[in-house]
Symmetry: C2
């Protein structure tokens, strides 16, 4: 009997929600469609998966068995996807270097230059991801190695910290704070801070410096997925600022924006990370080069 990962996803969603309606919302499909898919799955399996009692549905034994197995099938397929994508890149001697915004900054560019000179047959493919997406991209096989902004979930990855950068603040040039040479976190007490749903809460709180030294927490501004959207918000919204690493101030200049150093917070730490089971020698070489550069005194 054939089956689709889609219906397995549908089934897992219903089993987790124990509600067709709620699962349909989560899956962005109409509820009748979901009902039909589950019913068809039950018909093909020859057994009910849910007990539809009034105002509550529960899993049958067969449903419980399928829930475990379906989760394994789905994660197995994710793993397969990663292997295939990685193999495809490796075959064509491509190293996909994941990053967010300015990523690894100057170190990344130096590493790329050395790598390209040493392995002229290989190609570096920079891959930009949305906030907090670079670590997951490694697990999904969408990148072979990445400059990961900490904090991040490094499960399944090998990593080493290769750089750090002071944090700066961006604001509209007309903003009162733009008259200061440097910013302290207390200055941002009432400033709406741009934030994102696509990264983890830990990531968002770290950037927002939550909790603040005085025990307060950030005021949230506009939501965004990546650096361009974030800066667009800051440049156009009536209020609000954003925080980024120092390199962002030079990489993303903007006529309406002013960058100022945020002097009393921890710097951003940047890790180079790659999958634990990475078998690509080119990835290992790139990691060695970047590590060696990180150990040298910075030429800046």
């Amino acid at each position: 009997m054939d089956v689709d990962t889609r219906v397995l996803r549908y089934f897992v969603a219903v089993a987790e929600c124990l509600s067709f309606t709620e699962a349909a919302n989560r899956l962005y499909v109409a509820q009748p469609s979901l009902s039909r898919q589950i019913k068809q799955l039950e018909a093909r399996l020859g057994t009910d998966l849910f007990v539809r009692a009034s105002s509550a549905i529960t899993l049958t034994r067969a449903g419980e068995a399928l829930l475990d197995a379906a989760r394994q099938q789905l994660s197995g397929w994710q793993h397969t996807l990663r292997l295939v994508r990685t193999a495809a890149a490796a075959e064509s001697n491509v190293v996909r270097v994941g990053f967010v915004a300015t990523g690894g900054g100057a170190l990344a560019r130096q590493a790329r230059a050395v790598f390209t000179e040493r392995y002229p047959d290989a190609t570096i493919a920079p891959k930009r991801f949305d906030w907090g997406g670079e670590a997951q991209a490694l697990r999904d096989g969408l990148a072979d190695i990445a400059f990961v902004w900490l904090p991040a979930d490094l499960t399944g990855l090998r990593s080493r910290v290769v750089a750090d950068e002071q944090r700066w603040v961006a604001m509209r040039s007309s903003h009162p704070l733009a008259r200061q040479d440097k910013i302290r976190i207390d200055d941002l007490r009432d400033e709406p801070l741009m934030w994102t749903r696509v990264a983890s809460p830990e990531w968002v709180d770290w950037w927002a410096v939550n909790p603040r030294p005085d025990g307060s927490t950030a005021v949230w501004g506009r939501e965004n997925d990546n650096v361009e959207e974030m800066l667009e918000h800051v440049a156009t919204a009536t209020s609000g600022v954003c925080i980024g690493p120092e390199s962002m101030a030079s990489y993303y200049t903007h006529p309406d924006l002013t960058w100022r150093p945020l002097v009393d917070v921890d710097p951003l730490r940047i890790a180079l990370a790659w999958p634990e089971d990475s078998a690509s020698p080119l990835v290992a070489r790139f990691a060695e080069i970047a590590s060696a550069l990180a150990d040298q005194p910075s030429p800046d």
Copy 2:
């Protein structure tokens, strides 16, 4: 990205044949359809899986990675199917007893009677399969326990031999051999023997008594999938006989058929078998009952 076990089967077939045309035949689909499915899979994965060179196709690295993983996915799904079906039967206290033709004969009926008396809340569901299908049915989760005719592939199963039966020969009543009280294998030297594609070659050869004591091999008659088809062939074909266990002579009487004992060949051995990882206590109880009955002197 979603995927279907069907396209994984398609991919594995092409990868194993290294030919679209041959794989299409094996899969019983038209070659253009197969080409399109593979091409679409490649597009969704974002990488080629095959190198289409003139007069030979080969796997890319990504294809090799997918081949391994797809085989695992497919066998994983088979395993899942078994778990779900088994759980469904266990939930409703049903023990599905697999068999072929007369299956375990008198012993099976006795076991069922004892089991039903001892566990009145449970239900025995006899499940008949085509030639040689009962062991695979256990692995596929289509039966919980089965009377398996040996020889059979018992991989993944626990088993014990519980009965044996002399083999008999069925022929048209007008057949010259029907005048004999008993048949010897040499008498069948030139008789076309009914056979099947659905069981393993070892199974077919064992029933055909290949090779014969004189070194010859059977002459093949009509092909069939199960006992009714087989007997229909014997009753209507101009020539040919079939061999079955003694119980078949009493279970499948037929006005045009005559059964005679085949006196100089090994008897059929019947094993009771169930999955190694069977967790159902009812299955264990059934196995104990049948085993105990097998150890008693036969009441026949």
